[in-house]
Amino acid sequence: RLSALCCQAVTLPALSCVALCGGTHGNELSGIYLVQETLKNKRKGEAMEAVTVVTVISNPRAVQQRVRYTETDLNRCFTYAMLSAPVSERTPYEIIRSQELNSLLGPKGSGQAVDLICDLHNTTANMGLCLITYADSDWICLHICKHLQARTNDPYTSVGKHGFAMEIGPQPHGVIRSNIFTAMQEAVHLMLDWVRLFNSGTQFDEGSVDVYTMVKNIDYPRDPYTHNITAAVHPELQDRDFCLLYPGDPIFLSFSGEILRYKGKEPLYPFFINECAYYEKGVALLLARKSKVKIPAIQCSRA
């Protein structure tokens, strides 16, 4: 699918259909309301654009109950094994749903295929606006990130798994904050503007993007019998996502007043600091290395 017509720009097919997904986690409200409002505005008869935007509420049952998930985390249900698992009465709702979404938004090449999925999330961590891409050779996503960085206040990227997620925090789960909603709305508009420009033949120059790549995670210290946490994220680390953490810096403050320090050898960038949903996953924070990824010039190939 990559074809170079000359040695300059990488040409890629047009992104004719973009899916905007809200409610992958049913208590992350910005994306849910953004999708619902986009749907309402579309019904009022907007003109056809250079890109078709499909809106999806990924986990309607969780949205209805205002919970992250009902049986299992939908955002972990897109492995090959789960997508091809046979369905029975006992199959968790979210696995049935991931298979439905996979049919709805794929497969690539069919008339209904989606070219770009933007999955909208919130976090209780102070991460600002963060784009999470799934491969550091995903030039489309990295160009979108570069486009947003030039027009907003320093969003960051990191490399994760499958898809392209827009994560905005801090916001408590189950709450909608107007400033966070507005920031997500603007970021989505900028992203769609980029897609329209791309589809109409604009060449986007080569450049580089700061990418944070996850290296490891750190769990809370826990009681060996009850498994309850025995310390909280240290006040000097709390809310300092993407601020460099040096060996010896405080990470946790135990309930008995002891300071627990970062014992790694390499300074790393913490993120998802104190994300509510990660307590049960055994994660207090993630640590990333920062690198500059070179991205080539890209242009839409006219098929």
Binding site: Y33, Q36, E37, R66, V67, T124, P170, Q171, P172, H173, G174, V175, I176, R177, S178, N179, F181, T182, T226, N228, I229, A232, V233, H234, P235, Q238, L253, F255, N274, C276, A277, Y279, E280
Partner: protein, 337 residues
């Protein structure tokens, strides 16, 4: 302060809600019995982590909350909800202590929290009786930017008024607001109401399911000051008459909603996080999803609290409007035994 104007509760053979209070001459202080039993409740809402963590810690090692001559019992009120890290299983425990619920016969069909309310009433009440615990502190968190807040249910419980006055002074320069809910329609039957002197401790902002170190330590400190007060009171210290600035619940304000009940606007960015700051008529209150501002249209300034509390979307409340008031607290001391 004329002592004759003080009380709703008088010493009779049948004991009324606020416990036995005796007149004492020659001094004008109101006398209250020694505080014998104090409970500290955590996990009334299973996802409000400061109280859950503190109570679990104190159940394991209660040295920090022990005071001479007082039994202090830390207790998890809603273990089912705590286990699931959810606010409640069937119904909100902190609304469940109604006379109907407390007197309903036990049975299999009862909602989890109603059964729990009956058990808690047996252990720490019965509500309204002289056998009830003297003081209960119920530990809560809020997603609202309320800082440390003490919640009272009566403007005439002078023991409680003196206690919150002491706590505020001890906490300074950290601020500590006092919220008074005596509103005939908006007050509710709290878990702590089984005691003679119920006090709610609400600290925010903190997301549900999250433990923030600063919030945890603030709540820990408030409990410490409260227990210090009780120890001083029990040792015979007289607390002179004083005033307490409080915010009295006036009305509940909901989000604008469509005919399906869905919200059509969010708390305005200029109101978000401005708990306890005056909201004047004409000030921005909500912002619709397409950016229009909806102003506050009340007839005078109010002081909003619980602005954008996650748990209150389903209770149809965007914030509670309060009015500032100065409460008078009579001098108090321990009754001689």
């Amino acid at each position: 302060m004329q002592t004759g104007l003080l009380y709703n509760a008088v010493q009779t053979s049948g004991h009324l809600g606020w416990g036995t209070v005796a007149m004492s001459s020659p001094c004008n202080a109101a006398c209250f019995p020694r505080v014998r039993r104090v409970a500290i409740f955590g996990g009334t809402h299973g996802n409000e982590m400061s109280g859950i963590t503190l109570v679990n810690m104190w159940m394991k090692n209660g040295a920090e909350v022990q005071r001479n001559g007082v039994l202090t019992k830390p207790f998890i009120t809603n273990p089912g909800a705590v286990e699931k890290c959810t606010r409640y299983i069937d119904t909100d425990l902190n609304r469940a202590f109604t006379p109907e619920n407390l007197s309903t016969p036990s049975g299999d069909g009862l909602p989890y929290e109603v059964q729990r309310a009956k058990e808690i009433n047996q252990l720490f009440g019965p509500k309204g009786s002289p056998d009830a615990y003297d003081v209960i502190f119920d530990l809560h968190n809020t997603t609202s930017n309320m800082g440390s807040t003490l919640i009272l249910e009566s403007s005439t419980d002078h023991f409680n008024l003196q206690m919150v006055h002491y706590i505020k002074k001890a906490a300074a320069p950290e601020s500590c607001a006092v919220l008074l809910n005596e509103h005939p329609q908006l007050r509710y039957a709290t878990t702590r109401s089984v005691s003679t002197h119920p006090v709610g401790l609400e600290v925010g902002p903190q997301p549900q399911g999250v433990l923030r170190s600063n919030i945890f330590e603030s709540m820990r400190m408030i409990v410490k000051h409260a227990l210090d007060f009780i120890e001083l009171f029990n040792s015979g210290v007289e607390f002179p008459t004083c005033t307490v600035e409080a915010f009295r619940v006036h009305e509940s304000v909901d989000y604008p909603r469509d005919t399906n009940g869905n919200i059509t606007a969010m708390v305005h960015p200029r109101l978000q996080d401005c708990d306890w700051e005056p909201l004047n008529p004409g000030d921005p209150m909500f912002q619709t999803f397409d950016g229009w501002s909806i102003p506050y249209a009340g007839d005078g300034p109010v002081y909003p609290a619980f602005i954008n509390e996650a748990a209150y979307y389903e209770k149809q409340q965007a914030f509670v409007a309060t009015r500032r008031e100065t409460l008078a607290a009579a001098a108090i001391r321990k009754a001689s035994e």
